[in-house]
Each structure stands twice: as structure tokens, then as C-alpha cells.
């Protein structure tokens, strides 16, 4: 499966393997991680909520668009959900191409589209309370 919403850790070797072929000369990977700071607050953990069916469908649409837009060999989008600690992986995008240029372009475009379009929402548990993140906005819950 090239587009997945999953609870477990990524198997990055498996991901790389699944977009590799003898034609591939360059692979570009974006790996997102939970970091300890957001909007100036100390983050304790993240909780990702998703509209699961639509999230996977939207990732598939983004993947197909990327395959048309860039002369890449393949591309994969995996996103985690549930509760994640600092340092844990959140998203994995792996783009493979004959040459590096198209793999870089496709990987970068795809992460931007995912962040704009895929129905997944971040709840940040910080030392100043818990917040919903909506686009660039942070909205206090408790």
C-alpha cells in the first residue's frame, strides 16, 4: 500500500524498498517528527485525529497528482495517527526518480499538499494546556 494511515512506527527500509526499481537513481525522503516546541510552548505530546477513509483517499489523490506532475518512478505517503511522544515519526514521504531533481521536487510538493489537504488534525498537549491546531492557528481546549 503506497498510501497508509497507521498507528505503528514506520518501517523505513520497507518504504524505500517499495518505491525502488533498477531504474531508480535517486530517492528523496521526508520524515516528520514530533518536536518539543510549538508556537513558543513546550510540547509534551501530540494526538492526531483523522477522518480515516477520506485521509487515505486524499493521500491517494495527491499521490496520483504527483505521479502526473513530476517524471518520478514512484512515491509513497504514510501518515501516523493516535498519541505520539516527542521524537516519534509523524509522516513519511518517499519519492523515487531516475534523477534527484524530480524526486526532490515531488517530495517537497507532496508534503506541502498533504499539510494543506489531508483531513488529519493535531492536538498538542503543552505545559500551557492542550490546543487544537487548525492550519496555522492554535485554539485552546483546556
Amino acid at each position: 500500500m503506497k498510501c497508509r494511515l497507521l498507528k505503528d512506527n514506520f518501517n523505513i527500509a520497507e518504504a524505500i524498498n517499495s518505491v525502488s526499481s533498477p531504474k531508480v537513481g535517486g530517492i528523496v525522503i521526508f520524515l516528520g517528527k514530533v518536536r518539543n516546541e510549538s508556537h513558543g510552548k513546550k510540547v509534551k505530546k501530540l494526538i492526531y485525529e483523522a477522518y480515516e477513509e477520506m485521509a487515505v483517499a486524499e493521500m491517494e489523490r495527491i499521490r496520483e497528482e504527483a505521479m502526473k506532475k513530476f517524471p518520478i518512478e514512484d512515491i509513497l505517503i504514510w501518515h501516523r495517527y493516535g498519541e505520539l511522544e516527542i521524537g516519534e515519526d509523524t509522516i513519511l514521504i518517499v519519492a523515487s526518480g531516475k534523477h534527484r531533481r524530480e524526486a526532490f521536487d515531488a517530495c517537497r510538493w507532496t508534503i506541502d499538499e498533504v499539510k494543506r489537504r489531508v483531513p488529519v488534525w493535531k492536538k498538542e498537549v503543552t505545559d500551557e494546556g492542550t490546543f487544537w491546531i487548525e492550519g496555522e492557528k492554535q485554539i485552546k481546549i483546556s
Partner: protein
């Protein structure tokens, strides 16, 4: 004629409404924006949060798992979801 559509709420909108999904009976063939007008009445708690309906509207609407325009028509059995700007990645 009457048709049934399901409305789903996600993230903060779900907390506001307190339910995941509810079914509404609405006039056949209405547009998304007409459904939103109906929701404004039946779910007044969403009025300020969700239904600005202008270009800056902080609400996303999908139909059957796909982003949809406010002018789109609805059919019997459609699933409409309302959710805030996304923040994955």
C-alpha cells in the same frame, strides 16, 4: 420530496456538537450551502464557529470523502463532513 443526508463532524467541530454523525431529512437536490443553512438553524452552537461561508471561512466541507464546493448538489444518502483547517504532517 425529501432525502436523507448524513453529516459528520471532526476535530474541534465534533467537540462543539458532541456527536460524530447525525442524519438529516432535507429537500431533494439541495446544494451544500443550503444544507449549511439548515444546519445553522438546527445546530445554533455551530453558527459562529463554522458557518462564515465567505472566502476566509474556516470550515472545510467534503461530500463522500472528497472536498466539495458550496454550490455542489447533494443526493440521497450522501455523507457530508464538516471540519476545521487540517494540521497533519
Amino acid at each position: 420530496m425529501i432525502m436523507k443526508v448524513k453529516v459528520r463532524y471532526f476535530a474541534r467541530f465534533r467537540s462543539i456538537v458532541g456527536v460524530r454523525e447525525e442524519e438529516f431529512e432535507v429537500p431533494e437536490g439541495i446544494r451544500v450551502k443550503e444544507l449549511l443553512d439548515i444546519l445553522k438553524e438546527r445546530r445554533p452552537e455551530l453558527k459562529n464557529e463554522v458557518f462564515a461561508q465567505d472566502e476566509d471561512a474556516d470550515v472545510n466541507v467534503s461530500k463522500n470523502g472528497r472536498y466539495v464546493s458550496f454550490d455542489d448538489h447533494l443526493s440521497d444518502g450522501d455523507v457530508v463532513a464538516l471540519f476545521p483547517p487540517v494540521s497533519g504532517g
